[in-house]
Structure formats: C-alpha cells, structure tokens
C-alpha cells in the first residue's frame, strides 16, 4: 500500500512563469527607466533651448573662455591632489587596524554629507584663524585661485577616498604577502604589486574627483567669491549669467559642462575596457 501524497498547494507553482517573469522585468524597466527618461529629457531640453550660435557666442566670450580655462586647470589639479591623498588613506583604512579607525572612517565622510555651503563657510573661517592668516601672508588663498582648488579638493577628495578604499578592499592582501616572500620590502610590494593592481581604481577615483570638482559651486561661491576673470569657474558663470537674466548663455555653458563630463567619462570607460582586456594603458 502506498501512502497518499498530500497535494502540493497550487499557489507554490506559478501557473504562467513566463508571464510572471515578464511582469517582473517590466516593473524593473519601468522604475529604472523613468529615472533615465527624466535624465535624458533634461539634457534634450537643455540642448533644444540653445543653438550652435549661442554656443559659439558663449565660447567667444573672454569671461567664459577664462572660466573654461580655470575650470579645467583647477579640476585637473584637484584630481591629482585627490589621488595623492586618497591612495594612502584608502590603503591604510583597507589594510591596517588601528585605534580610532572607525572614527577616522566616519570623519572622512563628512564632506559627502555636509551641505556644500557649510564647507565653504568652514574654509572661510579656517583662514581667519591665526594659522590660516599665517598661510595667507605667504600665499593668498581666500578669494583667489588657490581657494577654488581647496574648495573643490575638500569635497572631491572624499569621493576619491571612498573609491580607493573600495579598490584596496577588493585587492587580496595575499598578493602583497606573496610579493614579500619573493623578496620585496613593503614599499616595493606597494609600488610593484598593489599600485599596478589598483590602476583602474586610481583612474576611476581621479575621474570622479575631476567630475565632482567641475560641478562644485557652493563652497567656491562662499570661499572664493564670484569675481569675473578672477575666481570664475564654469558653475560660477552659470550662476552669474542667470543672475543677469542671460538664460541662453547659462544654458550654453551648462551644455559645455555636460559635454566635458560625458567626454571624460567616455574616455575613462574606453581606457578601462582596454585595461580589462589585458592591454597596457
């Protein structure tokens, strides 16, 4: 005699698995796609609001040309400085356990969560303190070009640090261990094994810092001011053109920033893809 099997609950077997899959996929596309749609719509709206003649006019304006030049210069310096600082911090946090590590980790996130205006204000106050004034006597910082770089750096570096931390977390310490047994000192293992392994992460951190610096406005407005032909970067131009009602120029400059940001991202993605195929960078 065989025992009667209890019938399986009908609800546990989808009647139409293909239909359920399709509905699930449609929901994912709908949720994700709506964000992408608004993003593209914004760019299309910008592009349709301006014309090649507006863009050309903007590019010929000495003030805007100055802003483009200063933006590229300060963003590049900020990206280099950010990598210079983010690599050691990311490496230390990923590899070493030390007292107060959690506190340091939390402190490094402050520029990410703090309102940008507060960062600008804090920098302004810092340079009113005796050590800040002493620095000012040697190199004028506040309301000068160094203040633009410092304001961009304080925010952009935090993103670079996060990227480098994640990069070093993903690189197995075993590779360094092997390098040590092969005859390397710690610095040699770092330069010959860890840094080449982290190359894509460093590139990503630099790009992120550059792009973040390009869009930085709040701290620059407070700490550097918005003086034409002196501390004017592209976001400052957008603000200044808007404030005088020149919407066409503001949109044209915005589009320039979009094009610059997309170009940098595409270049880095292309190099990143080549790197992953094993070709030298």
């Amino acid at each position: 005699m065989t025992a009667a099997r209890s019938p399986q609950p009908a609800s546990s077997i989808p009647r139409d698995p293909t239909g359920a899959d399709r509905a699930f996929l449609a929901a994912l596309i709908l949720l994700g796609g709506s964000y992408l749609l608004v993003l593209v719509a914004m760019l299309v709206a910008d592009a349709s609001y301006t014309s090649p003649s507006h863009l050309w006019k903007a590019l010929r304006s000495p003030e805007i040309r100055f802003a483009i030049h200063l933006s590229f210069l300060t963003c590049t310096l900020t990206a280099i400085l950010s990598i210079w600082v983010a690599v050691p911090i990311g490496y230390l946090l990923a590899r070493w356990r030390f007292p107060g590590r959690a506190l340091v980790d939390a402190l490094l996130d402050i520029p990410i969560v703090l309102p940008p205006l507060v960062i600008g204000l804090s920098l302004l106050i810092l340079f009113q303190t005796p050590p800040g004034r002493a620095i000012e006597r040697i190199i004028p910082v506040t309301y000068a070009v160094p203040s633009v770089i410092l304001a961009q750096f304080m925010v952009a570096c935090a993103f670079a640090v996060r990227t480098m931390r994640a990069t070093f977390d993903q690189i197995s310490p075993r590779q360094e261990h092997v390098a040590l047994t092969l005859g390397c000192s710690r610095p040699q293992a770092f330069w010959w094994v860890v840094i080449p392994e982290a190359k894509r992460g460093i590139l990503t951190a630099g790009t992120l810092a550059w792009a973040r610096a390009l869009g930085e406005f709040g701290p620059i407005l407070i700490f550097s001011g918005a003086t034409r032909m002196k501390t004017e970067v592209l976001p400052t131009t957008v603000f200044l053109e808007l404030s005088v009602g020149n919407l066409e120029a503001a949109v044209a400059v915005s589009l320039l920033m979009v094009v610059a940001a997309v170009a940098v991202l595409l270049i880095i993605r292309t190099f990143g893809a080549q790197e992953s195929l094993g070709r030298p960078l």
């Binding site: 261990h177 094994v193 190359k199």
Partner: protein
C-alpha cells in the same frame, strides 16, 4: 632543515602555542588538521607573514624567527594562487629575480628553465586573465621556485582544482620535489594528496603537532 621550537603565534583572538616540529632537508612534509585549527596561521608564521610571539624557527643553522619574509628564502604558494594580474607569465617567473637584481641574461635563462620544468613555455607571453586553474597554480609554483628557495610552503594549492587538474598538479609537485630537492611544507585536507606526496605527515590537533614518518 626547518626546526620549529615552542612557537607561539596569535591571529586576532586565535592563538597557537608550544608548536614544535622538524622537517629534515629535502623531505616533503604535509600538514593536516581540521578546518580552523591554525594550519594557515602556522604556515604564515613560518613564512614571516605573521608575527611570532615566542619560540623560534631555524632554517638549517640560521635563526629566522624575526626576519622579514624577504630575507627568509622561503617560497610561498597560497590557495588562490594570488597571481599579479598586470604581469605576463614570464614576468611572474622573473619577478623575484628582478627584485634580486639578477642580470638580464641570467633572468632569461632561469625563466626559460622554470617554464620548461612546469610546461609553461607556450604561455610565457600570456597575461594571467584566462589561465585555467591548473595553469594558474603552475605559474604560482614557478614564481615561488624561481629564486631557488630552501623551503617551499604550499597552502592548500590543490583545493580549488577539479579532480583531473588536481592529479596533474600532484604529479608536477612530485616531479619538482624530486628534481629540485627543495624541502616542502604543504597544507592539505586531502588524504590522497598526503598518501601520494608526503614523506612526513604532520597533524595539527588541539594545538599539538604530531609527526608520522613515511617511506619515501
């Protein structure tokens, strides 16, 4: 010969103490024990990757207890091979020799020799992306043996391989040991590997290492 005496090592909250064993020169020692009993910690202590709190490690007549890993002359192959993804196979085999500033001609000759012995010659110009598990382990072995270490430490080098590749690398390890005469300390869970390769079986149980000699 490697002589470990009254060794005490700490790894976080885990610690090993009073560990003693001897592996005579040229012998193939297999270290076995349950998962989490401290085999890898012990191996790391021998290689200099973990600080020794007490006791001593002697390599022939040299006390290496507190020497940095670079000065010990011990080759190390971890479980996951840990290849350097930015280097070609040839660059892996040359790595330790370049660190030691060997002349180019010597490096090329040694790389060719190691590649030949591990059947890596056709792969020398390849990057590590796309190497099979067995190929990766042979590269890791070649990298560790390139500078002619006195001791070769292997941390479960066959555990991630399929049966066929495991057999292949087992043969490679046996051949290498016979041809180079290097003293080997090999961690494994696999009794068949131990039966096939070991001339000494060390068992780490409840913090004590027991030693069984086997016919070579």
């Amino acid at each position: 010969m490697i002589h470990v005496r009254q060794l005490q090592i700490r790894a976080g909250s885990f610690s090993l103490s009073n560990i003693s064993f001897t592996i005579p020169s040229g012998r193939y020692a297999v270290l076995m024990g349950r998962t989490g009993c401290g085999k890898t910690t012990l191996l790391e202590g021998v290689c200099g990757l973990r600080r020794v709190e007490a006791g001593s490690i002697q390599l022939h007549d040299r006390d290496i207890t507190h020497l940095p890993p670079a000065s010990r002359g011990i080759g190390f192959v971890p479980q996951e091979a840990a290849l350097f993804h930015h280097l070609t196979v040839a660059e892996h085999l040359a790595f330790a020799l370049r660190v030691r500033k060997w002349p180019d001609t010597h490096v090329r000759a040694r790389v060719a020799e190691v590649a030949e012995s591990l059947r890596l010659t056709p792969l020398l110009d390849r990057h590590t992306h796309g190497l099979s598990g067995g190929e990766s382990q042979r590269v890791a072995l070649g990298r560790a043996l390139s500078f002619r270490p006195e001791i070769l430490c292997l941390d479960e080098p066959l555990s991630a391989l399929d049966d066929e590749t495991r057999e292949e690398i087992c043969s490679v390890l046996g051949d290498l040991h016979r041809s180079t005469g290097v003293t080997v300390l090999h961690i494994t869970h696999n009794q068949r590997e131990a039966d096939r390769l070991a001339s000494i079986v060390l068992r780490l149980e409840q913090g004590v290492v027991s030693c069984t000699q086997r016919a070579p």
